[in-house]
Amino acid sequence: MRCEEARQLFDAYLDGELSPSLATELGVHRVRCAECRRSLALLEVSGHIISSDRDPVAVPDDFSERLLACVDVREHGWVAKVRRTLYFVGPLAAAAVIAMAFLGFFDRGRDSRVAGVKVEPTHVEAGAPRPNASAPYDREAADRAIDQWIGQMQANRADKAQTGESTPKPPDLTILQILEMLKDANEGGPELHHFPGADLNELFGPPDEHPVDDEDVEDL
């Protein structure tokens, strides 16, 4: 086994996903090759330290008290947020909510209830922009875009190494386009990690206000 091949197996080895025969081959290479031995040791120890080192800071003792004190203070803010969620449910739900409110359903335990999060009758925002949930999931296109982007980054780095000049980053437009594709792919694909019901966009605003994935941050 050559070093290059060995290195490609490091991740699978560290995650315990290597087949017994490959694990043995890697083990043999490791014994013979000081370079790979050093690299693997470094990764193993890093994992060990990251897993087990204690944090030098701790959450303050009165954190829970202070947090729960905020619950009452922010009650109305929460109601406002819950209102926004209702446009997803539609006018029917709003009507049901209003009917329930008339029946006094929401007055129970008002003092202690978390922010009355259950509800308040509200208007429904018609025509609000919705994520394109029906967009077909095109995993291959997303993968191609990522590969293209990575290729571009590598080409830029190679240019930089050759010319010794500072390399311009890949155009923002390209990155944005890729992120957009990833977002689209996320909307309907089999590897969707959205939480049904609880929508991050309800808490943070539309997705284009925050980075979904920013591989480039370390280079900024």
Partner: protein, 207 residues
């Protein structure tokens, strides 16, 4: 069903109960949810932003946002996953406004970190430097890579759960893990040679 599985089931049932009670306005249940998760969430956020006050602020914000969405949260998922998802997103929003790190690793300046050693082998000055260097290298990862490494190693999250927290496809998370390790290796290979004896000793214990 073994003991660990039974414990996990019990704690899941307990969590679902707590969420049910919290939705009904039970402040004791809310308090319990906070107490159950605050330490791990705070530690994760602190490792992401590296500022005590900001971490506290983000942690509080994450809990409040999670509570605000309790009604729509599906108990089919672990509450911690949802909480970390929100916490991570708040971190990202804050990090975007901050200037990222620049320059090379300063090994000498970081030796003080991680003074609470988990094992006697880490007591030497060199070992302290190694540990500080590892954390400093973690600090230099991009936010998604850093979050992936922290959740994977420190919080025992599987890649699937990390994918939920980061709201990314599973393949992207695996790629983050792979690249994060490659980057750590690259950064740490700059360590002075004498510190490698510590790596080798520790490696035998870690392995």
């Amino acid at each position: 069903m073994n003991v660990t599985q039974r414990e996990a089931t019990t704690s899941r049932e307990r969590e679902v109960q707590l969420i049910g009670r919290a939705r009904g306005g039970d402040r004791i249940a809310l308090r319990e949810l906070v107490d159950l998760h605050k330490d791990r969430l705070f530690a994760f956020i602190w490792r992401m932003v590296r500022d005590h006050h900001e971490a506290e602020d983000i942690c509080q914000d994450a809990f409040l946002k999670a509570f605000a969405s309790l009604d729509t949260f599906s108990t089919e998922y672990r509450f911690s996953t949802w909480l970390f998802t929100i916490g991570y997103r708040v971190c990202l929003n804050r990090l975007r406004r901050k200037r990222p790190f620049s320059g090379d690793l300063d090994f000498s300046a970081m030796a003080a970190e991680g003074g609470a050693s988990p094992s006697a082998t880490l007591e030497s000055e060199e070992a302290g430097r190694v540990r500080a260097s590892i954390w400093s290298a973690v600090d230099r990862l991009s936010p998604p890579q850093r979050a992936t490494i922290l959740l994977f190693y420190r919080n025992d999250f599987g890649c699937q759960e990390i994918a939920r927290v980061l709201q990314l496809p599973l393949a992207t998370v695996k790629s983050h893990l792979h690249r994060a390790r490659a980057r750590l290796r690259e950064l740490l290979e700059a360590l002075p040679d004498q510190d490698w004896s510590n790596f080798r000793n520790l490696s035998e214990r870690a392995g």
